[in-house]
Every structure is written in C-alpha cells, then in structure tokens.
Amino acid sequence: MNSFITIAGVTLIGLMLLVLIRVIKGPTVIDRLVAVNVIGTKSIVLLLFSGILFGQLDMFVDIALGYGLLNFIVSIAASRYYQHRKCLEQKGGNS
C-alpha cells in the first residue's frame, strides 16, 4: 500500500508540473490565478499522501484542512482584486 501511495504521489507531482506550464505560459493574469488554484487544491492531496506515508495522519489532516482554507481565501481575494483593473485583460494578445 505504501509503495502505491508513493507512486500516486509522484504521478500527482508530475501532473502538477503540467499545470505549472499553464501558470508560466498563461497570457492573462486570471489564467495564472486559475492554474494556481488548481495547484493549491492538489497540494492538499499531496499533504494527505505524505501523512499516510509518515504514519501519523492526524497531524497532516489538520494541516491539509488549514491549507485548503487559506488557498480558497487567497483565490477569492485575488479575483476580487483583479476584476477592477481593465488594462490587464488581453494585454498579452490572444493566446
């Protein structure tokens, strides 16, 4: 079971790197925001995987919950901030 969890964790990190490409390439700021939100929710899962591997999952579950809440709040705050700045949209030309 533990070896399977490590394999799943490694593939998860690989897929997150794929999403990271979108963060780098994204023409507009809000594309980057979306990709960062995806990476944020995926790091909750990674936290749980490492919790299972290290044995004491109780601690990691709380950390993952805290991290998930923070990620959610940052997404809301950043989207509220970026919605009033007209100049940023399509500044980098269409993708």
Binding site: F4, L18, L65, S75, S79, R80, H84, S95
Partner: protein
C-alpha cells in the same frame, strides 16, 4: 478495502490528467476555467476518498480520522466551485471576451 483505495486513487488521477490536459490545450480563458474548475474538484474528492480506504486498509482508521477527511471532502466540494465562480466573475468583469470559431477573441 485495499482494492477500493487503489480504484479511487487511480480514477482520481485519471480525472486530474484530464484536467491538466484540458487546462493546457483549451484556447480561451473560459474554456480553460471550465476544465480546471470541474476536473480539479472531482479528482480531489475521489483521491481523498481513496485516502480514507487506504488508511482503513492499514488498520489504524479510527472514526475521528475518517470524519476529518470527510470534512475536507465537504469543504473542497463547497469551496472549490465557489472560488472558480469568483474567478469567472472577475474574468467577466475584467473584459475577457469568449473565443469564437472565426477570429481569436473577436
């Protein structure tokens, strides 16, 4: 119990593969947002369910732990789409025009 963990985690990873590919290949902000918001929530919930079974198969699953993981699942179910909606709203207000066949973001 162990096979249930395998099944859920693999299916969750497959969905996340679809999400990341969708995020990369879609031409426009809205379509990318669609792929990211939907697939991301579903794959997270599936993998977390797999985690519960994985811990259960290791034998040290007390119900408090399962309850906490269920709490995280519920939070992701409620929180992630709301965040996606807020970002979509921000994109709409900042003037993202939907992509159409003829011109790019005409």
């Amino acid at each position: 119990m162990e096979y249930a963990a395998f099944f859920f985690i693999v299916v969750g990873l497959i969905f996340f593969l679809g999400t990341s590919i969708g995020l990369l290949r879609f031409p426009d902000f809205y379509t990318r947002m669609h792929a990211a918001g939907k697939g991301d929530t579903l794959s997270t919930v599936l993998i977390l369910a797999g985690c519960i079974f994985a811990v259960g198969s290791q034998g040290d699953l007390n119900w408090i732990l399962a309850l906490k993981i269920l709490l995280i699942i519920n939070f992701v179910f409620i929180g992630c789409p709301t965040a996606t909606h807020a970002m979509m709203d921000a994109g709409e207000r900042a003037g993202a025009k939907p992509w159409n066949k003829k011109g790019e973001n005409k």
